[in-house]
Every structure is written in C-alpha cells, then in structure tokens.
Symmetry: C2
C-alpha cells in the first residue's frame, strides 16, 4: 500500500485507480481490456450478487444459462440491435490450433475455419430469443421469467477497472409476456428492484427515470434507468431495464396462442446490472484514506486487532475478542480477528482503513484491565472507548448507523450538487463544475446532440415525477413537458 495515495482533490481519476489497486479490488490483466477481480473485490461482488439474486427470486425469477457464443447472423436479425452491438465484438473464426513448423509454438490451423463466425456475447437477447421460440407455444407457457449471471465482452479501447472493461460480469434478465401491460409492469418492477438495491444495500441514492430515444438500448422501445451521482459530480448509470416491445419476438418469430387460439408475437423485457456497480460503490463513499464500504456489502464488517507485547497478553486479548466474535457471528455479523504476529497494529489499522472495513476494534493490556475496547468507525473516522460489556450491542447498532449515515451523506452530496438552470448560458458556464443540472429540453434529438457536442453533457434521464412542471427548453425556447437531468457521465 502506498500511504501517499493521490487525493480526490488532486486527481479524482488517479485517486480512483490508486484506491482500486491499494484496496486490492482488481487489476489490469495482460489481456488488453480484461481485468482480474481479486479476492477482496470479488467478495464484495459476491455479496452484491447474492442480495440481487435473492431479490430476483423473490420476484419470481429463475436462473438459467445460455451459450457464450452467438452466431454472427443472429446479430443482424433485429435491425437496431445490430447497429448497437455488432461493432466492437470479439470474433471467433477458428476452432483449432496446431504446432508451428519449428515446434516451438502454436498457430491457428487454417483448416479449422468456422463456416459462420461466432461472436462472444456482448448481451444475450438474440441467443435467448432464439431459444424462447421453441419454448413458447401458448399463453400457458408465459410468462417466462429468467435471469442469467454471466460474463460478456464488448471490445473497448480505453478501459478503466470496473467502469469500462472489455470483459465484465453481469446479470441479464430476459422475460417473455403475453401482454404489453405485463411486460411494461415487469420493466418497471425490475427498475424498482435495482433502486431498492442501490439505496438500501449500496447506500447509493439513485434517480429513477427514462432514457431519451437516442440513449435507449439498441432494440428497446423504452429504456428505464437508475442514475447515481459520484463524488466528483459526474453521473453513473447504475442499472437499466428495457421494455423491448415485440421487437425480438418478431426478429426471431416467437408467437404464442392466446386463450382464444389467436396467434400474436410475445412481449419482452431485459434488464441488467454489472461489475460497474463496483466502481459506483467505490466512487460514492470512499475517501482519501481508501475504501469506505456500506456494512451490508462489506466482506468484513468488524475487524478486531490485538495490541500486545507478551504472548500472555496476546492470548488474554484473543480470548476476549473470540468470545465477542462468536456472539457477533451468531447475529450474522461478519467478524475477523487479525492475530497475525508478523504485522504490527499500525500496519493493520492502515490495511483495514484502506479496505473500508466499517468497524475496527482494538484492545491493549490497559483496555483489558479496564474492561474497555477501542472502537473506530470507518465512515466518520471517529474513535471511542467503549465498555467491553456493551460491545455487542454497540457494534450491532453502529453497523445500522453507518449504513444509514452513508446513504444520508450521499443524499446530501447529491442535493448540494443538483441545480436548476434555465438558460443555456448558465448551463455552459456551470456544467464543468459537475453535478446534475435540471433543465428544460424541447424533446428533440437535435437539441440533445447540440448540448452534447458543445458541453459533453448528456441527458441522463427524464426523471419520473408525479407532477411534471412544463417550461421552455433552455436551448431553443420551445415547449418542454418537464425538466430533465443533464450531466457529464462515466
């Protein structure tokens, strides 16, 4: 670990890279664009995955697994899908290697060329709807509510760990419905599931809304999204849920017979979140000292560090901590006692600070004598000395407090960096400061494009609101139904 890590103020981007490295979350591999997710980073992802997986199952979904490879021709079947996804793809052209003539290496065997190239899935709508065609005959076969946890590949030239990598891990839900209404309800339900997860587990407030036409998923009739604000004021799209209409059903000829026997195309949704959420988690809470993790997702929620000189002291402190640890574990709290004799307490303090462990306990011989334990909370860095007797109750409550404090802090940050602007002049002046800019927009792609070209800001979403207040477009002065969110984005 490098104690002189870059601060957020110095260079937010470098701060992020350093932190991901120092907290041992992930690293670049030698394979261009592909990352290695290290055990500590993966443990956080596992926690995210387990919570989401339960949420999906609680809403009636099952997991399944579809092939990694998609025949090239499938991508062309849905006209707008091909434009969006059949570009930067990993293409498998051969299925065999052979020894080189000098016997020292291997080379592609030219005789093993595939008749049709295979694409490593950038997303699985096409391969899945090709299967659904055989699964669906009548309304009795509907709905199909399937999710897949998988790796996908979208070739990227400029990559950043978790935020943009050629290969990433994600989940993709793919559902099939008998009616348009049911598919739309599913699209909305899954967006709410994502928002629930973001706010109540990641402690990351999000805005729920709808993408503009130009920002829609390629092949969708409607794309809903949750948008989060990072500490530098930039937006991060944290999850999307797509109403696909009958587009993929038509492309893959998937029809069903309704109760009266009438044939119609099936209605579809798809929705996904990815390891990108790891980047969002880092950038929402962490500070110049390192990672800050919400307790609900922290692989270690409480770490205990003994401070001792003699072996006898060590054992007495260890005994105390192990007893407490047993009680904490019985309550489902993830506890670690770090009795590693090769590392000094100061080193450990730093290590767990960088790794974002929510609560650190420490005990020395004097604490032991006085029946006390030192408690440090990672989010505020406050330290206190508490009675060992009350440690269990204190820790249990504090984990809840830290979880809600992180959410409140993030909400406050977002509130402080969300602005209403009414003129394009003001917008252009202020957009570089970062933040969400609520402004009126005339609903045209031309205006959206102009703002993007001139400022690099995009419309993150048209936020859901029960009481839309109309106004005039900040650029053209034309009528606008409601304010939308402009921001620069990751």
């Amino acid at each position: 670990m490098d104690k002189k890590a870059t601060t957020r103020k110095d260079d937010y981007s470098k701060w992020y890279n350093d932190l991901v490295h120092n907290a041992d979350l992930a690293e670049h591999s030698d394979v261009k664009g592909c990352m290695v997710i290290k055990p500590y980073g993966y443990a956080i992802w596992e926690n995210m995955r387990d919570v989401l997986d339960k949420m999906f199952k609680d809403t009636g979904h099952s997991n399944a697994y579809f092939p990694l490879f998609i025949p090239k021709s499938y991508l062309s079947k849905e006209a707008s899908h091909v434009e969006g996804f059949a570009k930067e793809c990993a293409v498998v052209t051969h299925y065999r290697l052979r020894a080189t003539a000098d016997g020292k290496g291997v080379e592609v065997d030219p005789d093993a060329k595939l008749q049709e190239e295979l694409i490593v899935r950038p997303t699985s709508e096409t391969i899945i709807w090709n299967s659904y065609r055989n699964w669906i005959q009548s309304y009795r076969d509907l709905p199909i509510l399937i999710n897949q946890w998988a790796n996908v590949v979208r070739w990227e030239m400029r990559t950043r760990l978790f935020l943009r990598t050629a290969e990433f891990l994600w989940q993709e839900g793919h559902t099939a419905h008998a009616t348009k209404e049911e598919a739309i309800a599913e699209t909305e339900q899954m967006l709410r599931v994502y928002a629930d997860f973001a706010e109540n587990y990641m402690a990351m407030p999000v805005i729920l809304g709808r993408k503009t036409h130009s920002e829609r998923f390629a092949g969708a009739d409607d794309t809903l999204c949750i948008e989060a604000m990072m500490q530098d004021g930039k937006a991060l799209q944290a999850g999307t849920s797509h109403f696909l209409g009958q587009n993929f059903a038509k492309a893959f000829e998937v029809k069903f017979a309704d109760k009266s026997g009438k044939l119609d195309y099936v209605w579809a949704t798809s929705w996904g979140v990815s390891t990108r959420l790891m980047g969002a988690l880092v950038m929402t809470h962490s500070d110049d000292e390192g990672l800050v993790l919400p307790p609900k997702l922290a692989p270690i929620q409480v770490v205990a560090v003994p401070i001792y000189k003699t072996e006898e002291e060590f054992h007495r402190i260890e005994e105390k901590f192990m007893a407490l640890g047993k009680e904490l574990k019985a309550k489902g709290i993830r506890f670690k006692f770090d009795g590693d004799d090769n590392k000094r307490p100061g080193w450990k303090f730093n290590e767990y600070e960088v790794k974002g462990v929510p609560i650190r306990l420490a005990m020395g011989p004097r604490d032991l004598e006085n029946g006390m334990v030192e408690l440090a909370r990672r989010d505020t860095k406050e330290k206190s000395s508490i009675s060992f007797e009350t440690a269990l109750a204190t820790v249990e409550q504090l984990l809840l407090d830290i979880q809600s404090n992180l959410l409140e802090r993030s909400k406050l940050h977002r509130a402080n960096n969300t602005f209403e602007v009414d003129t394009y002049e003001e917008f252009k002046q202020r957009i570089d400061e970062g933040g969400f800019f609520l402004a009126h927009w005339d609903g045209t792609e031309a205006t959206e494009e102009l703002v993007k070209n001139e400022t690099k800001a995009t419309i993150r979403c048209i936020p859901f609101t029960e009481h839309p207040v109309p106004g005039k477009c900040m650029v053209t002065g034309q009528p606008s139904a409601q304010r939308v969110i402009f921001a620069k984005a990751y």
Copy 2:
C-alpha cells in the same frame, strides 16, 4: 413429456438424452456443441455450487475472477500443457464487425485483426500463473488459495448434454505454496472435499485414486481423481485434483524468497469439477420413469398436490398444506404447493415424478376428513397414507432416509458390478458387460495402451489403499504393486 420414454434397458444412451429433455434440465443450442441449461437444471447446479462453494471457503479458499481470454503464446509456455490444451480451442482473431456492402448483414472487419490471437480459456493455469508472478515475492505472500467459478470452452465434435459440451461451467481452484509437502497436502485435501461432496450430497459413491501417467492433466506431476460408476457399469471421472509441482511457476517465472531470503519456484495445485456432475447425478440415481434426485440437491424436496372437485375443497386442502409448508420451510425444507387449476392431479404426479422430487404429498376430500395425507417417495415409489398430524416429522425423517437409501443403493450397485479378474482372457470376455475390473497391471504405458486399443477400457485410477497387495500383470505377467481399476468410461 413423453410417457413412452426409452427405458434404460432398451438404450441407456437414448434414455439419458430423453430424461435430460423430459425433466427440463438442458437442451442443445443452435450453437454447435453449446448447451442451454434450463431453469430446473440450473437450480440443481446452483445447489451443487452453493454446497461446494461453502466447502471451499471452509477450507480457507477465496473466489476471484480471471480473464476469459488467454493470449495464444501463454499456452506454449508450459511444454506438456500446450500439447494437452492448445488443440481444439475457440480462437478469437478479430475484434470488430462491419456492415456488409449490401447493408443487410455484418461481416468481420479485416482491419480489426488482433496482433496476437486470443484463446477462449480451456482452463486457466496459464493466465492465472501469469498474474501470480506479480502477486508473489516472499513466503509471506503464500499460500494463495483461490477458486474461480467460470465458463470454459474446449471444442468438441461429438457432444452430449452435461457430459461433453464445447462450453461448460465449472470451478477451478488454483493454489500456490511455499513447499512441495504443502502443495501435495492441498491436492489431497481437495480430493477429499470432492469425495465428501459426491458421497454426502450427490449420494454417489466414488473411488479415490491416482491417474496413470498417460491420463494425467497436461502440466501436472500427479493427478488424483474420484471415479464413480454409472448404472450401465461405465465409469465417470467426477473430479480431479492436480499436483502441478513447479511446472507453471517455472513456465511463468514465479519465484518467492523464503525466510532466509533464498529464491525458489513456487509449488502449485489445481482442481476442478464441472457441470459434468449433472450428468453423473442423472445417471447414478434415475429410473425409467425419470429423474431421481437426492434430497440435499433437489430444488423442490417436497411437493404437495391437492385433489378436489369444488373450490371449497380446494381452499380447505390448500389451507392444510400451506400450514404444513410453513413448518417445513421453517426447518429449511424446500416445499412447493402446486395449486395450478389448469392441470390435473395425474399430470402433476407425472411431472414431479419425471423431475425427481423426493417426496410427493397428495390430499383429497376424504383424506381431509380423516386427517390423513398420501405420501409417495420417489426413490422406491412406495406410497403410504399417513396421519396429517405426524406429517412434519415423517417428511423430515424421510428426506434423510431417501438421501441415505440412494447412497446405499448406489454402493450396492457398484459392489455388484466390481470384479477381480486375473487373466486377460477373462477380462476381454467380460469387459463389455460393464463394471469396474480390478486387475493387476505392470505399470507400463505399453500395456495400458494395448488394453485400451483392444478393449476400449482404460485404467480409471490406481485406487488409494493402505495395504496394497502385489501380484502379476494380467496381460504380461510382470510384477504389479496393486490392482488398478479398468473400465469403459464416459
């Protein structure tokens, strides 16, 4: 579902394919060699994965994730590894598609050719040891105990669902150690973990042993395995654990400084099981009526089917079952009440029989009156009428009984089909009947090869035994240290 499914006696291979299809476990996809794992099949795999994952974590391992792609040159770095794995691989040669001239399709963009081809991982030793090089400097960095859950691809021309597919799901453990002894102990420990899982969760007895030199993993100094016997007497390799010596450390230049500062190469192991276990599970227990699942891995352990004419009857039976279901769920038992009014009880009985649900409960108006419930166990097909009052305790105990009955039944089958043979004549006469043949072997590859060519049987393993009894090779009469297991295999 096709009631006239093929029986095991008619055609074991077709019986297997029909069953996998009828029980809705998996199907072939349009992508040659790749399968779709359907929700019910995936739910069984999830149960397997969760149990194994806990076992790995309980033995100190963490999960991580490494890239899908391996640069072609990496495969050549370990001499025997390249021979084993750099053959039937999916090779990525390009990273972009472009629209065809007619605008109707997409084609590979010849300008987007990779400088070095990427191989879709057939196994990850090379990419992982390339990372370990940067992770390991001193003995303090050891051991590294990492597991990865991932998809891998080995091009296959003749595929069978679960048993042999081009893409499959698996876990691969990759550990690094300071000493040879520690690495060997790890190799043996993980074999025992696999054997524990096979016997106590899959209810599938396995023989622990060592592969012959010619059957070793490409790049290993020693390959340990668990071998199971299927109902047709053929062997199935259910898991392997490899002691890799310093082979990959040398190939990727991974050295560590010991306590005295002396540099040495790191010692390695790798170990894996795959979705092949699904095939083993099917072929170990199932019968002519369909799947038979051990309770510990069954997605539904108890299904309840109401038999009714009136709505009032339905509600009264439903109420009873829901109360029981609540109690069962509180005990961690996976319970399903099937109240689907569109399907008749007979259809449901058949459905859950085909899907291998261990216990089926049924209740009609008369049962309701008498306080009884009909119970059918899937393994023996026995039916009984039990008092509803005692249903909870009966079901709980019966799940344990079914689990142990399946193991005992499989053990008996194996015992009945394991033979000692002392002459090659007898061996050749009997090998086609199926079964494990314990015979003496002179330890040479020549003899192993001869038997394989003449009978298609291979040495499945040299079984671990505390008291090896020497003898004479059944083929050459040369000395043999102990009997080995010959069998035909999947």
